[in-house]
Symmetry: C2
Subunit: 446 residues, 2 copies
């Protein structure tokens, strides 16, 4: 099925909604509902990223999510929602409503629903004491009360906080209540809840491989790999997961035998590399800024950057990676022409003849910073980020990128569009990918 | 009520959940429910930012949200959800399920629910034709069908796309169905739906003022303004809206007379300035990077930066603002010591004696870049972003920031914590605010 035939892009440049292609696996049976408790979700103070994260993890593990609900810290709302969820789902995941000052409502409501009482839990209390000791606080009464849990639940340990999770079972179905603090909930889900759910419900084997691409949009990608996609076996599905400047292709294989699934996925990825290898920079959520670090470190190479239109964003991406100081020496952000010449020795004649956004200038920038900072490689960008500064000859979005290395300098011209933020992002990612290709090629020749 | 007494920060450095203090206005009566339709929400591909945006807008306009639900593109799910919402709310807002390939389900379900039929709508079709003409596409059958709307609804125009919104009334209650594409939905809400809801339900006058603070967390802020907060009149509420490095304080006044509300809010903001004026950098969602641009432009002053630990993030923030090239000349990102001396003339003796993270070096960096780039002001940062590189004397998070101006250079030392990303963000915001204070002071003296 060609993407372009299925859902033409009528939304202009917004394209998250028309790229959804991950049809559900027919083999999946278990249904989950997510109930997020918290007033902060209903006034728009907090975006419900917990629910989308959980949905992704559940789907990845062969469990469908049929409904996500956000409700207030309110007994009646919690009661009604649980009751309705038990009628429609096998697995009910609650988050929130377990903080030291508000856990009364959720826990008492759960006690009432499951017809049980609160009981002091020694293990839970030991964890709370330990956390308070670490932070040099006294354990207060409200925190001591956090160790009281419904007698009929199985306690789910929380390695990052004082509120325990609670696992209830009823008529072969499961309800899990977890704290709403994202990193507490995530650790609990990954370490405890998902393994227990997989054990209880005997979910099928599901394997995933994510292929990271940069440089083209998903409709272009979809056309390029149309035949490959159409020939995918029934138990292997493809999802297009676009991010600004990046498209992730996620292959998911479902089956009964892990080795068979793995072999098939490896074969498909290998075939895909023959089709779009030049667009793939890595696998499984690797960041491009991490990838270039790996490439540079292989032969102890160093990097510097000279940025005009990207204004420091490339340097920022590189330095978000811990340990980047091992290969990254720094950058000259040269936002004005006089700084381009005074700091990077760009010749005034080129600036006058060709303008700042030109092949000659961007190459001089790359060579200038490489010499000045004494590095093996360098990146340079010069473009018109917008919204102003465009001309007929060089409209907003026109961007020159140069990469210099041990064997010289190369440059390419791009047109990234009209949106300042997206221009900066796309220019930065394109430059990093150009660099990675050059470094990898020269690593091979060493 | 002191914040610290109410909800101590037991979550470590995660503190969104324990800072929620915006108690509901008792005077508000209208209840809304949001139903988001779309499979993409249930597999975690798309975060439901629509719902939180809508909740914020509704609350701001005096309408409470009691429930947010995300469901699949499925007739039964839509039908059941609408039915339950009509039992519990006055206003039901649906988004999604109106794309050219899937609007059948939602629209047919609405027809069935409201016992009406689809009817070709000339105005809707005229808009669709116009959009296709602009994009040089032929109008296809699926798009022509988008002009068919339930006969009993009032059409809500969509100025950004082909799917019309639909306004239904039933027993004095309202259901509005809108597209899920964020910028289409947002324009529709702001231009059409909110004004119509306010007219129909006679919502009270609500005025808001957001005070932007930088430099301290909300528990510290709450202690500082405790008496002021306790003395707030009943019709004025305060919400703490924390973002990384920034805390927004939102005052909301509710009443019947706009002028009275406005006067009271202005008085309160003026009182607040006497208490925490040194922490306030602006109002109403102004960005700090915008604010420094305004300050610099007042007297045509220019800026350069020299970044070590922030690695280009300050330059990036500044250059996200369109027109920043008018006052920003560039930056030297000096990630290694030899570059600090070769590019910014930092003396080797200071580097050896005091280390890179020191008052002497950060001041030399600020003065060096100011001279080299020929600017009126400069910012310099040098710190240990982490996770490695800390020592007992200078643990991870230790950061020196210097600001140089026409009258010399000043520096200050900070401890930002252990998280690399947050260290970079907090150092950058702190530096920008230090600069703004200096520029504003010197603007006054001119």
């Amino acid at each position: 099925m060609a993407f372009a035939d299925a859902k033409p892009n009528y939304y202009g440049n917004f394209n998250r909604f028309d790229t959804y292609k991950c049809t559900k696996f027919q083999i999946l049976k278990m249904i989950a509902q997510i109930i997020s408790i918290g007033d902060e979700l209903l006034i728009g103070q907090v975006v419900n990223t917990n629910a989308s994260w959980m949905s992704e993890v559940l789907n990845r593990n062969g469990i469908n999510v049929s409904e996500i609900k956000a409700i207030a810290d309110d007994k009646q709302a919690i009661m009604t929602s649980i009751d309705s969820a038990f009628q429609n789902a096998d697995i009910i995941l609650l988050t929130g409503g377990l903080g030291p000052t508000k856990d009364d409502i959720t826990k008492h409501t759960l006690c009432e629903y499951f017809n049980t009482d609160l009981q002091f839990n020694e293990e839970a209390f030991a964890t709370i004491q330990q956390i308070f000791k670490m932070r040099h606080f006294e354990v207060t009464k409200v925190n001591r009360d956090q160790a009281k849990l419904p007698a009929s639940c199985i306690r789910i340990p929380n390695s990052n906080g004082t509120a325990s999770g609670m696992w209830f079972e009823k008529d072969g179905k499961v309800l899990v209540s977890m704290p709403g603090v994202p990193f507490e909930m995530k650790t609990m889900m990954e370490d405890e809840v998902i393994p227990k759910l997989k054990a209880k419900f005997k979910t099928p084997v599901i394997l995933h491989r994510t292929i990271m691409t940069q440089g083209v949009g998903e409709s272009f990608l979809a056309k390029k790999i149309e035949d490959w996609e159409n020939a995918l076996p029934k138990n292997i599905k493809l999802a297009y997961l676009p991010q600004p400047g990046i498209v992730r292709l996620r292959l998911s294989a479902i089956g009964e035998n892990k080795e068979v699934c793995l072999e098939k996925i490896n074969q498909l990825v290998s075939d895909l590399n023959k089709l779009i290898g030049d667009l793939i920079y890595g696998y499984d959520d690797l960041l491009l800024e991490e990838a270039i670090g790996e490439s540079l470190k292989k032969n102890h190479k160093t990097l510097s950057t000279a940025e005009s239109c990207t204004g420091g964003y490339i340097a920022h991406l590189i330095t978000t990676i811990a340990g980047s100081s091992n290969y990254y020496k720094g950058s000259a952000i040269v936002y004005s022409n006089d700084i381009k010449s005074s700091v990077l020795n760009v010749s005034n004649s080129n600036l006058e003849k060709d303008g700042a956004v030109s092949e000659s200038v961007v190459k001089e920038m790359a060579l200038g910073v490489k010499t000045k900072f004494g590095t093996d490689y360098s990146i340079a960008t010069s473009g018109i980020a917008g919204p102003n500064g465009g001309t007929e000859e060089k409209p907003v979005g026109t961007t020159w990128i140069a990469i210099a290395g041990p064997n010289g300098v190369e440059a390419a011209k791009y047109h990234f569009g009209e949106h300042r933020g997206r221009n900066i992002r796309r220019a930065a990612l394109t430059a990093l990918f150009m660099l990675k290709k050059l470094v990898d090629k020269e690593n091979e020749q060493l």
